[in-house]
């Protein structure tokens, strides 16, 4: 087999049992690698209805066919599990040397189940699997943990992914970190913490074999040249923080918990502003020619990575405009292993709830928008689950539910996942993408904002054409995330599906058409949906926060622009129709069966269907009894 190894490693960290299992090539062709294969394995390994913190919830690290090839931006891996924040699929991507080492283990995925008796780390090296005690690593930052473990396993070279204090404390939006990067959204770090697993260290020696090396090299050269052209100027010269100022100008930069879509302090937090005031150096992932990372230096000398989403969530979202405070807040999130978007979103909820006098333990909470010191204290409290942090560590949806009093209207989330930095009122295609995403309020699994910024649609007006656009964008992203290719390379393809089919064919030896690859994207997306359906999804989960649907924007170019519930409902209907799902968003049985068959999860689907029928019978009996 080329591009894949055709096997996975399953480790139960409770019993210590390690088991290698073959993966048929047809299954890999059906769902590729990365997010696709991860979703397939999640569907198979997670018992229906499993508690995300239960030992049985699998935490799955997935490689992909392009990893280890000369193709730029492909040193990436996926982390897939059932999210403790949403109760649905959590699929995250991270990158760099850990991704390369995962592939060098000679496996396509690592499935971790069980719960270690006490804090431990997993050390996998050339066919050996060890579970080592990690008591001395408790409370250490991911960076410190990587250093300690690398020293312990020396002279064998290793790459490490680990959790910080937030993961250990089961903060529901904790991340898994490697080399300063994060599998960020959905709380995979908390799932790892629930397994008492502080870290995973890898060292492998298997080299990736491709079917047609000459062809792969030729395509790699072509993409490498395009990757350093003007198409990627923004990423190469400014990084994603280049979004801040222009998003403010376009009225799409959410501020003060989505009260506004403009922010007075945006220039100080812009890529252009920070480049002059705080820039330290440019950096990049392994095997990447774009090198989008920007490191900034605070006045006290700390060097810190900043991304647009982090700047948005810890800056405008919380009303903070001081770059020093945002840098320190980002540094704390990295040290504790916290998703910056959910951290900012949950703290913004706390600020509004506190202002209304409804937050318990008020002394611990940031008292007002713009209070940088309060923001830092709030982050510490969340990571340690201290005081009010114990409530906020649950995320905005659960916190609002616990506090009650109508505070849910300030919880800006979809399916429990806090909103990213794109205001849906002034980006109508994005509004739909956020509402229907299986992951929750996610900007990455459709990048539906692309249509809004393209000029092909009126971004301020909703219409029934958006469903097809979002479905197509999701399919595109599903392929990108399963090959895996970095999103920042996506515009370097002239014809994405045709070129990707050519590329995947050269790597795997498969004869693939563009159409087959596009259908594969749709299938992967459908499988995510099927997982969510199995875990209790209903049409009510595809919706946006009340504020977005009831408060028009004020200020900026989008002043007065609104999004009504009827407009959203119409767009969602058009999306379900584009997907050929029924009016309630349910996947037809024939489509489910075909999808499950191609992705190798037919028996799991049948088990779930059998369980549904049994539940329906029980429900029917219960209903009958109560009627008596």
């Amino acid at each position: 087999m080329h591009g894949f190894w055709g096997r996975i490693l399953h480790v139960d960290v409770g019993s210590g049992r390690a088991e290698w299992r073959a993966l048929p090539e047809e299954r890999l062709r059906g769902c590729l690698g990365g997010i696709g294969l991860g979703t397939s394995l999640l569907y198979e390994y997670a018992p229906a209805g499993v508690d995300p913190f239960a030992a049985a919830n699998p935490l799955i690290f997935v490689s992909a066919p392009l990893v280890g090839t000369p193709l730029t931006t492909t040193a990436k891996f996926a982390v897939v599990t059932k999210s403790p924040l949403t109760g649905f699929i959590a699929d995250s991507l991270s990158s760099s040397h850990f991704a390369l080492e995962l592939k060098r283990l000679g496996i396509d995925a690592l499935v971790v189940t069980g719960r270690a008796p006490s804090l431990a780390y997993l050390w996998i090296h050339d066919g050996e699997v060890e579970i080592r005690a990690a008591g001395e690593l408790a409370g250490k930052t991911p960076h410190e943990t990587e250093a300690v473990i690398c020293a312990q396993v020396a002279p064998v070279p290793a790459w490490v992914a680990s959790i910080g204090a937030a993961g250990e404390h089961l903060v529901r939006f904790a991340t898994i970190s490697n080399e300063g990067r994060h599998a960020g959204r959905g709380g995979a770090g908390a799932v790892m913490g629930a397994k008492h697993l502080k870290a995973i260290a890898l060292s492998g020696s298997h080299e990736t074999a491709v079917a047609r090396p000459g062809e792969v090299n030729k395509i790699a050269d072509r993409l490498r040249r395009r990757s350093v052209s003007s198409i990627t100027d923004k990423y190469r010269h400014l990084g994603t923080v280049g979004n801040t100022a222009v998003f403010n100008r376009l009225g799409v930069l959410p501020a003060k918990n989505f009260q506004r879509a403009t922010f007075d302090g945006a220039e100080a937090l812009s890529g252009e502003g920070l480049a002059g005031s705080h820039f330290s150096r440019r950096h990049g992932c392994a095997s990447c020619t774009i090198r989008c990372e920007r490191l900034f230096r605070s006045l006290d000398g700390h060097e810190q990575r900043l991304e647009y989403e982090t700047v948005f969530a810890l800056g405008p979202m919380c009303g903070v405009s001081d770059p020093e405070m945002v840098l320190e807040a980002a540094r704390l999130c990295d040290r504790y292993g916290l998703d910056t978007i959910s951290t900012g979103g949950t703290l913004a909820w706390a600020i509004e709830t506190s202002a209304a006098g409804l937050l318990p333990h008020e002394s611990d909470a940031p008292p007002a928008f713009g209070d940088g010191a309060g923001l830092l204290a709030g982050i510490e409290a969340i990571a340690m689950r201290r005081g009010i942090g114990a409530l906020l560590a649950e995320g905005s949806r659960r916190a609002a539910s616990a506090v009650g009093g109508g505070t849910g209207r300030w919880a800006m989330h979809v399916k429990g996942l806090e909103m990213p930095g794109y205001d849906p009122r002034s980006l109508k295609t994005m509004a739909l993408g956020l509402a229907v995403s299986p992951r929750g309020a996610c900007h990455n699994r459709s990048s539906a904002y692309e249509a809004d910024f393209s000029g092909a649609v009126d971004r301020l007006k909703a219409d029934a054409a958006r469903g097809a656009l979002v479905a197509a964008a999701e399919n595109f992203a599903a392929v990108l995330d399963s090959l895996i290719v970095c999103k920042f390379l996506r515009k370097c393809f002239d014809d994405f599906y045709a070129e990707s089919a050519e590329l995947l064919g050269a790597v795997t030896g498969w004869a693939l058409s563009a159409e087959e690859l596009e259908l594969t994207g749709a299938r992967i997306h459908t499988l995510k949906k099927l997982f969510n359906v199995r875990e209790g999804w209903s049409a009510a989960d595809d919706w946006l926060p009340e504020r977005v649907l009831s408060e028009p924007l004020s200020g900026g170019v989008a002043d007065g622009v609104a999004l009504s519930a009827d407009e959203l409902r119409e767009m969602i209907g058009s999306y379900y129709a584009a997907r050929q799902w029924d009016a309630e968003g349910r996947v037809p049985a024939q489509v489910s069966a075909a999808c499950a068959d191609a992705c190798g999860v037919t028996s799991a689907l049948r088990r779930a269907a059998g369980s549904d029928r049994a539940t329906a019978r029980e429900g029917s009996a219960g209903s009958h009894q109560s009627s008596r």
């Binding site: 003007s230 990627t232 252009e272 480049a275 692309e450 910024f453 000029g455």
Partner: protein
């Protein structure tokens, strides 16, 4: 004549070293006229943001009229007093 202002964001601003520039275009001007005038005023943008023939933007850049409507063709008209936002075409991140 058609007076207008070009606001520069991102890499365009860094290259031009200015956040905005005022231009006066001929009557009934379109975006091809605007790019030509901008190239003359800010020659550092030529080849980096504006094509060498000054007739359009290079791939990766886009324009929005008054921050609302994205421009899809160089034949789109520029109106008196327009503020043209010159930005990266890729909003990812």
């Amino acid at each position: 004549m058609t007076p207008c202002t070009v606001e520069l964001y991102g890499v365009a601003r860094m290259i031009a070293r200015t956040p905005e520039v005022g231009l006066v275009l001929p009557p009934a001007a379109d975006f091809a006229d605007l790019f030509a005038a901008l190239a003359e005023r800010l020659p550092a943008l030529v080849g980096r943001v504006i094509t060498a023939d000054a007739g359009s933007l290079v791939p990766g850049y886009a324009c929005s009229i008054n921050g609302l409507e994205f421009v899809r063709t160089a034949s789109a008209p520029v109106h008196d007093g327009d503020r043209i936002v010159l930005l990266s075409a890729d909003a990812g991140g």
